[in-house]
């Protein structure tokens, strides 16, 4: 076996010592750690800046929207009041009751042997501005059968009004249809009379 001498053993040992130098290793680790810290800080900074940008955008949007919202809140009550007022006015104009067509129909329905003594009409406004027309007709009917004549008049009045209005009712007031004491001459004929009170009620909306 040949003897082998390592004449460079001191140089090798020195190199080995330098390679495992803890200060150098710690330095390297420190540099890596420092790079990581710098990277992490940059990452966090970019995240925070993103959040802050979003905040700034929202603040800018809020500064634009806030005055609009304040105006809208102020206007809302005004618009609602105006809407209510407009609706009331239009309803008042469009849904008022015209007495002239009613009187025209009433006159056309009243035959010669029916004499009107009085007519009282009221426009009654109920819930939700629903209108009801109440009419009280006092009159005298003449005929061979004056009560029948009065009843015919009541029926024809009800039928005619039902063609114009809805929910029509026409009825004699209790005990109001009575034989009259007087007689009348109509077309040369002497006829008996009956007094009556007819109460008419209807909704002025047109019949369906």
């Amino acid at each position: 076996m040949a003897l082998h001498l390592n004449l460079y053993h001191e140089i090798h040992r020195q190199a080995e010592r330098e390679r495992r130098d803890p200060v150098k290793l710690a330095g390297l680790a420190g540099v890596v750690f420092l790079v990581f810290l710098v990277f992490w800080y940059s990452y966090r900074l970019s995240v925070v800046r993103g959040v802050e940008n979003k905040r700034n955008t929202l603040q800018s949007a809020w500064s634009k929207v806030e005055p609009q919202m304040k105006t809208a809140i102020g206007n809302e009550a005004r618009f609602l009041a105006q809407q209510k007022s407009n609706q009331a006015l239009v309803t008042r104009l469009n849904e008022r009751f015209y007495w002239a067509p009613f009187l025209d129909e009433f006159a056309a329905t009243t035959p010669a042997h029916i004499q009107m003594v009085s007519l009282t009409g009221d426009v009654e406004e109920g819930k939700e501005k629903k209108k009801t027309i109440n009419v009280l007709v006092r009159g005298v009917a003449a005929g061979v059968q004056p009560r029948t004549a009065a009843e015919d008049f009541r029926r024809s009045l009800q039928d005619k009004l039902a063609g114009l209005y809805s929910e029509v009712s026409a009825g004699f007031d209790a005990n109001s249809l009575e034989d009259g004491v007087e007689t009348v001459k109509l077309n040369g004929q002497t006829l008996g009379t009956a007094t009556f009170r007819i109460r008419v009620q209807f909704n002025p909306k047109p019949a369906q």
Partner: protein, 188 residues
Amino acid sequence: MKFTKEQLQKAVLATLLCGGGLWYYAFEMLGPLAKREAAALKEISTLEPQIKEAKSKIVRTNAIEAGDVHAVEAQRAYAVMKAKIPGGQPVAWLPTRFAEFFKQQGIGKPTFRCNPEPNESDFPGYKGSSWTIEFPGVGFAALGEALAGLENQEGLMQITNLQIDSVATDAELHRVQLTISTLVKSEK
């Protein structure tokens, strides 16, 4: 492995420097960042619902304004009212105007009586006014024609009560009493 005194001093100094650096990094660099982030997030969480609510309020108000189906018709009516209804107390003009109308219809000499003001506060700038008009003797047909003309001419007027009584002395004539309700300009 044995450290020399000088090496130990260096190691302690390096540890102190590292510790200080880490403390500075954590509390003076990352700490303020976290605070800024938390503050921004808190503001975002407040602003987002605020903006959403504000937008919905704006949309709702716009919808109310756009949803007023009677606006055009009412504006037209208000324009007519403004032009046709004189200012001042109605007693100064209303009886004259109506009397003139009935005179033209050939059923003159009505008498007018002002009733207590009906409570109508729906119309800004206007108030209700109620009147009773009496005719001592008028024919039924003439009355019907006059009422038709009046109801067509006075769009705001509503006859709320109508009383027709026959006159004992003349079968053709009737005593008529009308109660009307109309709108007049409010002086307030």
